[in-house]
């Protein structure tokens, strides 16, 4: 069974600039995060998937067809792209209804009402979009992408301009959209939020795909990544000394803010096993045992460093 979204051997260049080089991946139901530096090729990838441009090499398939040539793909595809996508003078409701009609939705009004409610614009739907805050304009774009109940969603920085409450709500919304069985590809720079929305990630560096899969899985594959553990409580310095003496950690640092010690180890599992007994021996009360740098942001930074190799 072919995947819902598929890139095979795709390269894209603009003159002498290589935007994407030999990228292949396949997406199914659920939310996938697309990570990469500015200029790494994320927007190009999204643009190819949306059908806005054609690859220089390779093939793009969305819902089984080439999105660039087959306009029918728009019925099953919802896109939130960067930049303005709304008209200032019309109300949110009218814009979303218009798009619903364009995509051939059977009940444009009802669908628009539902989409607006889902993104939290139910009350403000009849005001001019020109009077909206940036976050609300962003949500209009999201409603436009949802109104025709698409199977596939491409979201480029969908949380841009949203305040903390709206961000939290939309993170939950995106996760829910994936749980409903849609295929969602979301690109964002705030990696802590990507972790909450997406089960899998694709990491693009310098136009090439360097990692794909679950964040924890990618993390575990990075072999020369130092594992760091923060320990706080009473007599943690003595505990750290014991860990060092037993050869379980290779480095010990005291935290400058006074929050205990930070130890570094090549073997995280062995360390976790040894901590309780050694803590008892040292008479240390453990008030905090916390792995540091296990989040997606650290993983991403490490991936990029590793990908670069010798560079800065």
């Amino acid at each position: 069974m072919s995947a819902v979204v598929e890139l095979t051997g795709v390269s894209k260049w603009f003159g002498d600039t290589v935007a994407l080089s030999d990228v292949s991946f396949a997406l199914g139901a659920g939310v996938t995060g697309l990570l990469g530096h500015n200029g790494a090729g994320k927007s190009t990838a999204l643009s190819l998937l949306a059908g806005f441009s054609r690859p220089s090499q390779g093939s793009v398939r969305v819902l089984g067809v080439d999105p660039h040539t087959d306009a029918g793909v728009n019925r099953g595809l919802g896109v939130v792209s960067d930049g303005e996508g709304t008209w200032a003078h019309a109300s949110a409701r009218s814009q979303v209804e218009f798009l619903a009609r364009q995509r051939g939705v059977r009940d444009p009004r009802g669908a628009a009402r539902q989409a607006l409610a889902r993104v939290g614009l139910a009350e403000a739907a009849d005001r001019r979009v020109g009077g909206y805050s940036k976050g609300m304009r962003q949500r209009v774009k999201l409603a436009q992408a949802l109104v025709h109940d698409p199977q596939v969603l491409l979201l480029d920085e969908p949380l841009n301009g949203l305040d903390p409450a709206q961000r939290r709500a939309d993170v939950d919304l995106v996760a829910a959209l994936g749980a409903e069985g849609r295929t969602v590809l979301v690109s964002s720079h705030v990696l802590a939020e990507v972790e909450r929305m997406a089960d899998r990630v694709l990491v693009v560096v310098n136009g090439r795909l360097v990692a794909e899969g679950e964040p924890a899985g990618i993390r575990d594959l990075l072999v020369d990544r130092p594992r760091t553990l923060r320990l706080d409580g009473t007599r943690v310095a003595e505990l750290a000394g014991l860990l060092l003496a037993e050869g379980l950690v290779v480095a010990v640092r005291t935290d400058p803010d006074g929050r205990g010690v930070v130890v570094e180890t090549p073997r995280a599992a062995g360390l976790a096993d040894a901590v309780p007994a050694l803590a008892r021996r040292a008479g240390a009360t453990l008030r905090r045992v916390e792995p540091v740098g296990e989040d997606l942001e650290s993983t991403f930074a490490h991936l990029v460093r590793a990908a670069r190799g010798a560079g800065r």
């Binding site: 949203l162 409450a165 009360t285 045992v289």
Partner: protein, 320 residues
């Protein structure tokens, strides 16, 4: 209800509002707002339309309040405008740099307009551009810069005249993870090492958590919450524990040992063992049980109520 717990620094507050109101047409942007920004670095949060931008603009003298008193570094924001202008730096969110000038030109020109002599302006510009990480590109026109370089230039011009207070509006907007990391480090350094007061407005709580000591949350033009970013860890609050091996079995063995201490267990959403209260004695019980059974301690963290919950609650319900 407004929670006030603040961190004090020496000297006048960076920004102080006393019953400040400002109305635009029919919209009450600021409604008798009273707040004092005393911490070294404060995060300013609020829904769109809660009054954050109006507060910043009024503090910067771009708007006049209808009523109330506004003091910046102890100076009246309206009457002592010239002095305030000298001591404040501003990094706007919107693009604000002339595309045809280079970062160096922009900084030197602004430094001179702020009253620095030619030599001082040139020297300071060189230092500040190096500090924000602009190297050879500083001589190219700003129009050719990437977003990250533009943000750095904006920050550099805010610092070139040695202000005592910097107002940053969405400093990491549009930056990729590496750029965000660098910007946050620089911002943290401003208040931690250089003693410059910082007021940062951002929608990304993580940025505020990493750079600020205190948050101020606005709602509908008034103060909804003001509290430190890091709450002192209570030694008796709830704690989440995760062990290697069979978590359920460990929890079952742990429960009767903690019951005499008045601690109850419950599983958490992420599969940890949650202790509803703790004490050093209780934590030692956990440690000793793990040691006896040869079970590894994967993590043990105080489950304090996150900043996000507090802030979102304070902001009120806003369209979802």
């Amino acid at each position: 209800m407004c929670v006030r717990v603040s961190i004090e620094t020496a000297g006048p507050p960076g920004l102080e509002c006393v019953q400040v109101s400002k109305t635009f047409g029919s919209v009450r942007a600021l409604d008798r707002l009273s707040v004092a920004f005393t911490a070294p670095a404060t995060g300013l949060l609020g829904a769109n339309g809660a009054g954050k931008s109006t507060l910043l603009r009024t503090a910067l003298g771009l708007s006049r309040p209808d009523s109330g008193q506004l003091r910046v570094l102890g100076l009246d924001a309206v009457a002592q405008r010239r002095e305030v202008r000298r001591r404040v730096g501003y990094m706007p969110e919107h693009p604000c740099l002339p595309a045809d000038l280079s970062a160096q030109d922009v900084c030197v020109q602004l430094a001179r307009m702020r009253g620095l002599g030619r030599r001082d302006a040139v020297r300071r510009t060189s230092e500040v551009l190096f500090a924000v990480g602009l190297e050879e590109e500083r001589r190219r026109p700003v129009g050719s810069y990437s977003l990250g370089m533009q943000q750095r230039t904006k920050l550099a011009q805010a610092l070139v005249h040695g202000p005592d207070l910097v107002l940053l509006d969405e400093p990491t907007s549009g930056l990729d993870p590496a750029g965000r990391e660098e910007m946050l480090t620089i911002v943290r350094r401003l208040s931690a090492d250089l003693g410059i007061r910082v007021i940062a407005s951002s929608h990304v709580l993580e940025d505020i958590e990493r750079t600020c000591d205190e948050v101020v949350v606005l709602r509908a033009g008034t103060l909804a919450a003001q509290r430190p970013v890091l709450v002192e860890q209570q030694l008796t609050g709830p704690v989440d524990v995760l062990v290697s091996g069979d978590v359920g079995e460990f929890a079952r063995a742990l429960e009767p040992l903690l019951a005499p201490l008045g601690v109850r267990l419950a599983p958490t959403a992420s599969g940890d063992i949650g202790l509803d209260r703790s004490s050093d004695a209780a934590l030692d019980v956990v440690r000793d049980l793990a040691a006896e059974r040869g079970v590894g301690l994967l993590h043990l963290v105080p489950a304090a109520r996150g900043l996000e919950d507090v802030v979102v609650d304070a902001m009120g319900v806003h369209g979802g």
